[in-house]
Point group: C2
Chain length 191, copies 2
DNA sequence: CGTCTATTTGAATGTACTCAAAAGCGGTGG
DNA sequence: CCACCGCTTTTGAGTACATTCAAATAGACG
């Protein structure tokens, strides 16, 4: 159960057996059924979650009730409402499972203790955040400089597996277009 | 010259006098005139920059020659093309000065050495990145869930000083609308 | 098999865009 | 100090891309 997260962590920092044991001891395993919530808007997000299996979506529900997908998280991705996790305020995002999913959770206080006990985890999470920041920045720029068709093609290229696994209307939401528009774009591209 | 960055750093981590001295020793002071580039797309971005004074814009130039502002950076903000800085590849962003500007620069190798010599800087930059990540996520969600008028109002509320200081067409670009649209939105709001 | 949801297709609409031109503003030099 | 030039902002008219609303088809799940 822990091999994938240990392998993942070892890409960035080297852990002693003792540190590995300690790290594993603070992880909680959690299973979610399809459609089950990991985080609900209004709750406080108390965990950082590492995806072992399955896929989650983070989405915002606006005033008119429309859902806007901000992120998909499949195997070896981290997910949370980071803002809520950091500040302890109510989450504005929902996170739910698009498939049956398993995650490993780190509670906030346990993570803070981990930073103290094994400071090199600061390095790990700094690097993860750097990568996440760059990915988000690319997304912002793509949204500004590309039309819907180009954004879809970019998505397919970058996440071919997600394109296969996920319902089209979820992808449409991530791309910030309507399901109808994505359907027409795909028709156009296939001709 | 160094008081504002030291004060800034001390918000997050406590430095000994020795560490302060070392930190300051790796900083390079640089002045930019209005319109001068800090980073040009195609170059490698070799510095992380802390703004002492003035204001910079980060922007992407698309295939059609249009500029898209991804970020403004005024006093006490950090700026760089992080992707280029981290990977050593060519920058895709331009960064230039909207006003006469002064920055403190940290070169990549100096920063890496700093992480080794004073590991708590990992904590600092992890926290900075957390905040930057959350800010970017908010921006993505706002772009998806709000119309142009709401995004403008949000910008004014969040950055009242920038609203005052910056030319309207730069703000329009940041909001991902045309200068004409922003002009019409402001007219509408003032009536 | 039937129900519920997802996808596709069509038609009309709208928000923000493009293109064009006028007005306003600021900086520079005569 | 004023006149001019260039850039920014405003305004107008027509356009386009994606949207909304509606309905039909297809697919998934119990």
């Amino acid at each position: 159960m822990y091999s994938s997260i240990l392998q993942y962590v070892n890409n960035y920092i080297a852990l002693t057996p003792k540190e590995e044991t300690y790290f594993i001891s603070i992880l909680k395993h959690r299973k979610l059924l399809k459609r089950q919530y990991l985080v609900q808007a209004g709750d406080v997000c108390r965990y950082e979650n590492f995806v072992l299996k399955g896929c989650l979506r983070s989405y915002y529900v606006d005033d008119t009730g429309l859902e806007h997908v901000s992120q998909f998280s499949s195997e070896n991705w981290w997910t949370s409402d980071l803002s809520s996790f950091l500040t302890g305020k109510e989450a504005s995002l929902n996170i739910d499972a698009l498939e049956d999913t398993e995650v490993l959770q780190i509670e906030k206080s346990a993570l803070e203790q981990l930073y103290i006990e094994v400071p090199k985890f600061n390095v790990l999470f700094r690097i993860l955040l750097q990568n996440a920041f760059v990915a988000q920045q690319d997304r912002i720029i793509q949204r500004m400089s590309m039309d819907a068709t180009q954004r879809y093609l970019m998505f397919v290229q970058k996440y071919p597996n997600l394109e296969q696994r996920l319902p089209q209307h979820q992808i449409a939401s991530y791309l910030d277009i309507t399901p109808e528009s994505l359907s027409r774009i795909r028709k156009q591209l296939s001709s």
